[in-house]
């Protein structure tokens, strides 16, 4: 059944300007469209206590004008040129991106360079965007069932405040942000030597190189930002807590494990293990619980991928009259089974084909390519990872998956949060994190907050209206 398959190589060119800006080019002329992504090495992991949500609030300020671009004109320029744009903030980084007709590449470079070199911050604009961010928080977190409970799970999972707090932050901390804070943050983190510029699509490389030089080369570099400590103590015992949710119509529970950082051998193997446990309708836990026992309505799980200690989560909504304790026993049994017998040959074939399919399908979009390549350049200084990472996943063996599940998931090193409907306001826990508000039938937020699938803090809602859609 398994056929041999070769993924086409994506050509990537990289160079660094004298000011330290890393530049990545991926030329592809299939559609007259170009995508530009600028990634800054700053996210909620860089926030200090009392300033949670700051990296994301700052991201909004990047659309509020610079020396030669008035407030909100960024939106206007891009739309009027026939483009789309957005930005997102995660624990790891803040990104800004636009996709345009390829003739409009100079516009994108002009806009991105102007805000990199000369962001203009006023009290009035800060107050305005603070309100927009608070509404974003209400929309995606505070007015949704289960979402704030899920954020509580992060706080339980991580002990280091750099990891434990959410990207959206708290209302109090948002209120405390000042214009001076914004200016200082800009100086420290928004320097060319702390950023990657990535361009994918229909462009002419020599012409593009000279445009990049023109717009970016004179932006001065800065001292490197202070290092971040994201180290975590190893947890030693199960932690349990209850979250009272006044919007939740029925109880739910969430389980979380702390796992090793991205790009470790353990992380690759655990990603594949998580696929076998809860991705798709053939997944072990779906077949066991939604089918089989018929004890739950829905199960969602995922991996929170970070450069430091990362997370693996499962969220379950049981049916009425089904005990969480019993459901969790089934989950732990299934994990134990994977930890002793390992994946079957059929499951390994499934992983292989899914890896190929995902790798090829995602390459269609110039924006996806620009973003993924930028991320590898930013985190690893290795843009070619876009091409080579697939093989690392393919090389993971069934035995490695078995062993890593035994070592990291079949343990007492986990957190359990019971989310219970309540007429009361939620307990002292801080609120936060992403949920896709446009899907009335999805009871659970799109957990976990993978920065790529569910941007934690886009300045705009993620779904843009289609030009010729029926609804």
């Amino acid at each position: 059944m398994q056929k041999t398959f070769h993924v086409p190589h994506t050509p990537i060119e990289q160079f660094t300007l004298e000011n330290g800006l890393r530049v990545i080019l991926n030329e592809d002329h299939s559609v007259p469209v170009v995508s530009v992504a600028v990634y800054y090495d700053v996210g909620s992991r860089n926030e200090r206590e009392g300033r949670t949500g700051f990296a994301h609030l700052f991201e909004h300020m990047m659309f509020q004008g610079s020396e030669n671009v008035p407030k909100a004109a960024h939106f206007q320029y891009i739309s009027n040129a026939g483009g789309t744009m957005n930005g997102t903030t995660s624990s790891e980084r803040t990104n800004y991106f636009e996709t345009l007709p390829s003739s409009q590449l100079p516009l994108a470079l002009w806009l991105e360079s102007d805000r990199m070199r000369s962001l203009a911050v006023t009290q009035e604009n800060l107050d305005n965007q603070r309100e927009a961010v608070k509404e974003e928080k209400r929309l995606r977190y505070d007015n949704q069932p289960y979402v704030n409970g899920f954020l509580r799970l992060f706080e339980m999972s991580f002990q280091n405040p750099a990891n434990a707090h959410s990207t959206i932050g708290s209302m109090e901390d948002l209120d405390a942000a000042t214009v001076e804070d914004i200016r200082e943050f800009f100086r420290v983190y928004y320097a060319p030597n702390n950023a990657v510029l990535s361009i994918a699509g229909d462009f002419d490389p020599p012409e593009t190189r000279s445009l990049i030089d023109k717009y970016f080369a004179t932006i001065p570099s800065q001292q490197p930002p202070p290092p971040v400590d994201v180290s975590e103590p190893v947890a030693v015992a199960e932690q349990t807590d209850v979250f009272l949710d006044r919007l939740a119509p029925v109880p739910a529970f969430a389980l979380g494990w702390k796992i090793p950082a991205r790009r470790t051998p353990e992380f690759y193997a655990l990603s594949l293990a998580s696929h076998l446990l809860f991705e798709g309708e053939s997944a072990r836990l779906y077949q066991k619980l939604v089918k089989g026992e018929e004890s739950i309505v829905q199960i969602q799980g995922g991996i929170d991928e970070r450069r430091g200690p990362s997370g693996l989560f499962i969220v379950v909504i049981p049916k009425p009259d089904h005990e969480g304790t019993h459901i969790r026993e089934i989950i732990f049994d299934e994990i134990r089974q994977l930890a002793t017998a390992g994946p079957s040959a059929e499951e390994m074939e499934k992983l292989r084909n899914n890896l190929f399919n995902a790798a090829v399908r995602s390459r269609q979009s110039s924006l996806f390519r620009a973003q993924q390549i930028a991320e590898s350049a930013l985190y690893d200084d290795e843009p070619e990872l876009f091409n080579t990472d697939l093989q690392t996943y393919l090389d993971v063996t069934a035995d490695q998956i078995r062993d890593v599940v035994a070592q990291h998931l079949d343990t007492d090193n986990r957190v359990l949060l019971n989310i219970e409907p309540s007429a009361e306001e939620a307990a002292p826990a801080a609120p936060h994190e992403p949920g896709e508000p446009d899907q009335p039938t999805a009871p659970l937020p799109q957990v976990p907050p993978s920065p790529d699938d569910a941007p934690a803090g886009a300045p705009l809602p993620v779904a843009q209206p289609q030009p010729i859609e029926s609804n």
Partner: protein, 459 residues
């Protein structure tokens, strides 16, 4: 800051490159099944979509949500495969298979690496033609959907959509947006089987394929799988007139403790094939389709009331709406209505500027190729064209149609379809906090609970 004067002005664009629209091969099998095949060899991928001109609007009156339930259950068992076997076969190929319905049509979609095209198309055909709706799967779906109905009622945007659809569409089939508890209790296996047989017929279907395939091989495979499928008779969808609105009314769904008010201001508007479609599309782009439109600039960038304020042009086969929406903090619910009505009046009363129409035309023309960059993007467009009876040259002439619209056309459709004095204003929020704020905007206020029942008073 410094003397780089080139930074002061927006740069001129480079030479534009033409968009080469992919060439589609179209034909019809003898049983009436339409085919659209687009060869795309950029990557070793293939995407299939089998679309039927039958959607939620075709649900029998006593079984609202039947299309939805059939979509959900189609891949839960066939004559030769169990639910589990289907899921395992698809996922072992790294492929996807999904079924869904909109108001006007239903689709069975599949995609995979092109090396698995034959296997995936066979699975797609099997669930479409030979699904059996096993009793245990029907019972499970019934129970799980009842739980999902409970979850839906916790979502403010579901409550807003439900109330809006009921108010605007009245007795029209578009008024129902979800199955009901009674429907789920009544639903049988036979209902599903006979609905599939009567609505999934080749003569009301189009199979769209985009990807890396050999034409003759694919045609041979399609013939093998679909040529023996018998024609049927499509039954027409009843389309009663929508309730005539004579005044502005507020429909307040009381959600105590709500952190925001979800506001939807709606009017009846156009069908998808209306000659007013392109003027409406331009009007919508200027008023509220994106982050540079008037509503966003006003309610978010100036007032800071919301994360986003937009308009929505919802043009379907039989009827449609035009809506303005935002989720705002409770305290500014009334103030937001003031800004909404300011903008709705303005687009009616004053012609848009030449600059605005040029920008909107440039936006729509520019984002067009971005939408068809991927196989899924292009297949969405082709399916819409086929299912909503748009002309075959729609993609080729789209930009000309956009550019032909004038400022006078825009004002004419705004005056015709944006009618604030007859608008339905749906608000999902905390009635105790909101009622006094919204009173100035209408004397007619109806209050509902989250179950959809009328409420006499707030408390």
């Amino acid at each position: 800051m410094q003397a780089e004067t080139f930074r002061r002005e927006m740069p001129s664009p480079l030479a534009a490159h033409p968009l080469n629209l992919p060439v589609a091969f179209g034909t019809t099998l003898s049983n009436g099944l339409g085919l659209v095949l687009v060869e795309d060899r950029r990557l070793p991928l293939i995407s299939f979509r089998l679309a039927f001109r039958s959607g939620d609007a075709n649900d029998p009156e006593n079984l609202p949500g039947l299309s939805d339930m059939m979509s959900h259950l189609l891949s839960e068992g066939t004559e030769t495969r169990t639910s589990r076997k289907i899921a395992e076969e698809i996922e072992r190929l790294g492929a996807t298979l999904s079924v869904g319905s909109t108001s006007d049509f239903s689709t069975v979609a599949a995609s995979s690496l092109s090396i698995y095209a034959a296997e995936v198309l066979e699975l797609l055909a099997d669930v479409t033609l030979r699904s059996t709706f096993p009793q245990n799967e029907v019972d499970l779906a019934r129970e799980n959907t009842k739980q999902l109905l409970i979850q839906q009622r916790a979502q403010p945007n579901f409550l807003a959509s439900e109330r809006m659809a009921g108010v605007i569409f009245g007795t029209h089939p578009y008024s129902s947006i979800s199955p009901t508890e009674e429907m789920l209790d009544a639903l049988t296996r036979d209902d599903l089987l006979s609905f599939r047989v009567s609505t999934f017929i080749p003569n009301s279907a189009e199979l769209v394929v985009i990807g890396d395939f050999q034409h003759d091989d694919l045609m041979g495979r399609i013939d093998e799988l679909f040529a023996g499928w018998d024609r049927g008779d499509a039954s027409p969808v009843p389309s009663p007139a929508l309730p005539k609105r004579t005044e502005r009314t507020i429909y307040l769904v009381d959600r105590p403790g709500s952190a925001q008010s979800n506001i939807v201001i709606a009017n009846e508007a156009i069908t998808r094939t209306s000659p007013d479609y392109f003027p409406m599309l331009l009007m919508h782009t200027i008023l509220g389709s994106n982050a540079s439109s008037r509503l966003f600039m006003n309610l978010r960038e100036h007032k800071g009331y919301t994360y986003g304020a937009y308009s929505n042009l919802d043009a379907r086969r039989l009827a449609g709406t035009f809506r303005a929406t935002a989720e705002v903090r409770t305290a500014v619910t009334g103030a937001s209505l003031q800004e909404f009505f300011y903008e709705l009046d303005r687009i009616r009363n004053d012609a848009v500027s030449n600059e605005e129409i040029t920008n909107a035309q440039s936006y729509l023309s520019g984002v067009f190729p971005i939408r068809i960059e991927t196989q899924d993007g292009l297949i969405d467009q082709i399916v819409n064209i086929k299912m909503l009876d748009l002309p075959d040259d729609y993609l080729r002439t789209y930009r000309d149609q956009v550019n032909a619209v004038t400022t006078a056309d825009i004002q004419a459709v705004a005056q015709k379809y944006v009618t604030p004095d007859k608008a339905a204003i749906v608000i999902v929020g905390d009635a105790a906090e909101v009622t006094d704020q919204v009173k100035p905007y209408s004397d007619n206020i109806e209050i509902y609970d989250t179950e959809g029942n009328p409420k006499d008073s707030v408390g």
